[in-house]
């Protein structure tokens, strides 16, 4: 029998109660991973600034990659390690920004043994900015993606098997302060997603983004007083590249579907996808509905969105109150037990 593999999705920039901060979906993800043989999760689910504490069987896959996996276009191949290239935005004029990035890279190299083959600076500032939508979520805009795509391409030619991009993202300081109080979605996430999506789309390799803070931003974050507990990891360190390099270290390679071999993970290997109940409008949920992959909708993980399975008419959904219940459903599925058999009332056969 094949391994029991699920996906854990918490969309970025939507103010998810669990996972909308920094790595705060890690405990829930690790509980799921203690039951499933493998859990495919995107970086924002487990990135926690210097920390990336996901279990070994959590596979770190960028959102665009997960979309393609659910569409059946690619397979994922596990690796022992990746050679990583780093693209660093020249957009911060502060020497401290670069110093922090390089020190973080060196820390991960020397403590974890991650192979960072090169660090290339952009020739011009990337100039990404966070934009708040009508729904209150954050998305991003980039005027010229070639500012980071070009150095990423250079790193790929040098042999990089994964790319970390660290850029300055323009954020309204008021939004950042609100975020630290737990009153607004993470403003970075949307912009980060489009940067990593575009690198993965162009070069077909794993990518993840880490914000590069100016000296003023570093100081402001580290001395904001006591912040919302879920943002705690940000208040203790600005070394965002740490978790990204740790995650990319063993991120699975992206293989075109027709080149997949035994042992690779394809859509057909996915048994379930776990999502916040109010965020059913993305590709993973829609593809899961189309291809009969069980959707597990978690009500407690409230977001600023209101796109539920009921509103979309999705049928292939088990709604649970929280991730502990989701774990129970995953355990039942793995055992081949109908989760409804453990609930009351139970449907009569006739």
């Amino acid at each position: 029998m094949d391994e029991f593999i699920i996906a854990q999705i918490v969309p970025t920039g939507v103010g998810a109660e669990i996972g909308g901060y920094v790595g705060d979906a890690t405990p829930a993800t690790n509980i799921l991973a203690s039951i499933a043989d493998k859990v495919i999760a995107h970086p924002n689910v487990v990135n926690a600034v210097t920390m990336e504490m996901a279990r070994e069987n959590v596979l770190y896959a960028e959102g665009y990659t997960i979309d393609r996996l659910f569409r059946g276009e690619i397979a994922l191949r596990e690796v022992r390690s990746n050679r990583i290239g780093v693209v660093l935005d020249c957009g911060s004029e502060d020497k401290e920004s670069t110093d922090m990035a390089i020190n973080t890279i060196d820390a991960v190299r020397t403590v974890k043994g991650v192979d960072v083959i090169d660090v290339v600076r952009t020739e011009k500032p990337v100039g990404g900015r966070a934009v708040r939508t009508k729904a209150g979520a954050f998305v991003g805009e980039i005027k010229d993606p070639w500012t980071y795509l070009k150095p990423a391409g250079k790193l790929v030619k040098e042999g990089a098997e994964a790319i970390a991009v660290s850029t300055v993202i323009k954020i309204d300081p008021r939004d950042l302060q609100e975020y630290f109080k737990g009153k607004c979605p993470n403003p970075y996430g949307g912009t980060e997603a489009i940067i990593s999506h575009s690198v993965t789309r162009k070069y077909g390799i794993p990518c993840a983004h880490a914000p590069l803070l100016t000296k003023k931003e570093m100081f402001s974050e580290m001395f904001s007083g006591i912040v919302d507990a879920r943002a705690g990891a940000e208040a203790i360190s600005p070394a965002y590249l740490g978790c990204v390099l740790e995650g990319l270290h063993k991120a699975p390679r992206i293989i075109e579907r027709k080149m997949a071999e035994e042992g690779d993970i394809t859509r057909e290997h996915l048994s379930a996808v776990v999502l916040p109940a109010s965020c059913m409008g993305g590709v993973p949920a829609l593809a899961a509905e189309k291809y009969g992959i069980q959707i597990i909708a978690v009500e407690e993980n409230r977001t600023v969105m209101d796109v539920t399975a009921e509103k979309l008419g999705l049928k292939n959904v088990i709604t649970v109150k929280n991730y502990l219940e989701a774990a129970g459903v995953v355990a039942a599925m793995k055992e081949g037990i109908d989760p409804k058999a453990a609930r009351r009332p139970i449907r009569k056969s006739l």
Partner: protein, 56 residues
């Protein structure tokens, strides 16, 4: 090349939502690629989609 976000409205209609949205976004033109999208609002007979567009 630029990356920006745009909202679109499509009719709810029948059939798989994935296919319908893909078909709609596939008609944006050769130079526009929706690299990310999500349904962000559900109205009576329409869906509002927010897409991240990479324009060549």
């Amino acid at each position: 090349m630029a990356i920006y976000n745009k909202r679109y409205e499509i009719k709810k209609g029948k059939g798989q939502l994935l296919d319908r949205i893909d078909a709609f976004l596939g008609k944006l033109g050769k130079k526009k690629h929706a690299i990310r999208y999500a349904i962000v609002d559900v109205k009576k007979d329409k869906l509002e989609i927010e897409a991240t567009i990479l324009e060549d």
